[in-house]
């Protein structure tokens, strides 16, 4: 039997695999990024609504939801409902395990890119289960809307992740980051980068992909969520956005590369900046109707990213 999980020697020489206990620090960082995203979103909402400073909104919302009484529905499937509600946060935590923080890493998996991909597919299951479990028509409509969006965004997202892996010749996240010492992948594969960001916004059920939780269906998937369940679900959405931004750093933005500051600081800085851009940008894009986005995804986005993959493959083969 293998000792794969305990592989002490990292795959990339520059990466040190830290003991499992450091996962708590990773969770704290993910939590801080989540809080940052929520606070920034609160501030932007407050500014748009013309009311006073909204930076403290996550704290106010947390306090309100923790005090709120848990609502329930007739014949709800509580097991599936709770799994769904908590699943987003868990998925985000599993995603960041393969992101190198400078030279340190928790889980130096040789197929880390696939791991991230598998985790973002988990979101399909989790969001649908949240919609299903409540036994409420509006929630379920939201769940179906998310799956319809998923059919549109998932394949382009997969092929966007393929581009950096081809260029680096590896599915290991550390090696993908290493391969960008000359030029960031975001610069010479911009289509893949943009499609990846679209995918991140999509699997965090936000911005243009928010119809699954739309007000036209009374809140959709989260229509019946209340109290702590709603808190965990909302935190999970921001955490997924943060995890997606963190994963973009080794994949497209050169990992820990940068002058003066140490690698870990650059990773955090780039993550925070990209996260801020994502939080800002997703408010600027109108909602994409699931039925219409399906065709856009398959006829525009997917061919575009496939051509990007072809270009990257030809360049990678040419460099030899």
């Amino acid at each position: 039997m293998s000792d794969l999980m305990l592989a002490a020697g990292a795959i990339t020489p520059e990466v040190t695999v830290v003991p499992g206990g450091w996962a708590i620090l990773a969770l704290l960082i993910l939590g801080s990024l989540t809080l940052f995203a929520a606070a920034l979103d609160g501030a932007l909402s407050a500014r748009a609504a013309g009311v006073a400073n909204g930076l403290g909104r996550p704290f106010g919302e947390t306090a309100r939801l923790l005090r709120q009484r848990r609502r329930t529905t007739v014949q709800a499937d509580h097991l599936l409902w709770r799994i769904g509600g908590a699943g987003l946060l868990v998925t985000a935590a599993l995603m960041v395990t393969v992101v190198p923080l400078g030279e340190w890493m928790i889980f130096d998996l040789d197929v880390g890119v696939m791991w991230f991909n598998a985790m973002d597919v988990l979101v399909w299951a989790v969001v649908w289960l949240t919609g299903w479990g409540a036994n409420s028509a509006h929630s379920l409509v939201g769940g179906y809307r998310f799956l319809a969006h998923g059919l549109g965004y998932e394949l382009p997202l997969m092929f966007a992740l393929v581009a950096p892996a081809i260029a680096a010749g590896s599915l290991n996240v550390g090696q993908v980051a290493e391969a960008q010492d000359e030029l960031w992948f975001a610069v010479w594969m911009p289509v893949a980068f943009l499609v990846y960001l679209l995918g991140v916004v999509a699997f965090s059920v936000s911005g243009p992909f928010a119809p699954a939780i739309g007000t036209d269906i009374a809140g959709g998937v989260r229509a019946e969520l209340s109290g702590v369940d709603r808190l965990v679900f909302e935190a999970g959405r921001y955490a997924l956005l943060a995890a997606g931004a963190a994963f973009a750093v080794p994949m497209f933005l050169g990992g820990g590369a940068g002058p003066l500051l140490p690698g870990w600081a650059w990773v955090l800085l780039k993550t925070v900046l990209l996260l801020a851009v994502l939080v800002w940008a997703r408010r600027r894009v109108p909602a994409l109707r699931p039925d219409k986005f399906m065709e856009v995804g398959w006829l525009v986005v997917l061919p575009a990213v496939l051509v990007q993959d072809l270009v990257v493959a030809v360049i990678a083969a040419g460099r030899g």
Binding site: S2, L4, Q75, M114, A125, Y144, L147, E154, F293, L299
Partner: protein, 189 residues
């Protein structure tokens, strides 16, 4: 430490079997589908323990995606309304039980009776690559030919099954633009 790995390995195996059994025990399509998903995820992690990381992670990825879609079809076709009405997940019990028992006995007997060879040599450095070459190596040409044929079959099947043709969409002279679709697309064709 290797004992921890052993316990995790067998624990995952038991979890995979129990989750698989739960598919027939639970009384809801959604629970049955996701019990199957849990079983597949456990198998995927087991495959990772065998150092086939790529195969293991792909198993998790594909199966979770497939189950998410399958749940939709199960609920749609099996007449289970969203009111979470309980329904049995089994039918034809006696036949099914007999077939299952015979299959199990046959496979288990095979495992116990076969004279397994001793290991010769050592595993390749990259076992995923070795597995791929063992499975596909001499048949790569066949595989490369079959894949486009399979895709063409899928496309042809969908075209034949669709009850609307291009004449319904574009009119008898094929000149109507944009097309008349019950479900308008997003790119204005």
């Amino acid at each position: 430490m290797s004992m921890v790995v052993d316990i995790a390995f067998w624990g995952l195996g038991i979890a995979a079997v129990l989750a698989g059994a739960a598919v027939f025990y639970v009384d809801s399509m959604a629970r049955a589908t996701y019990a199957l998903a849990i079983s597949f995820v456990a198998v995927g992690v087991l495959v990772m323990f065998l150092q086939q990381n790529y195969v293991g992670v792909v198993t998790i990825l594909m199966m979770v995606m497939e189950m998410a879609i399958m749940a939709v079809y199960m609920v749609m076709f099996m007449g289970m309304n969203p009111a979470l009405m309980p329904m049995s997940m089994v039918h034809g019990n006696k036949t099914a039980l007999a077939v299952a028992l015979m299959t199990f006995v046959g496979l288990a007997a095979g495992i116990l009776l076969v004279d397994w060879p001793d290991r010769r040599g050592s595993p390749a450095a990259d076992v995923t690559m070795a597995l791929g070459e063992e499975l596909m190596g001499p048949k790569m040409l066949v595989m490369a030919v079959i894949s486009p044929v399979m895709v063409a079959t899928v496309v042809a099947g969908v075209v034949l099954a669709a009850h609307r043709t291009r004449y319904d969409r574009f009119g008898d002279d094929l000149k109507r633009r944009p097309a008349e679709d019950p479900q308008p697309g997003g790119v204005g064709r």
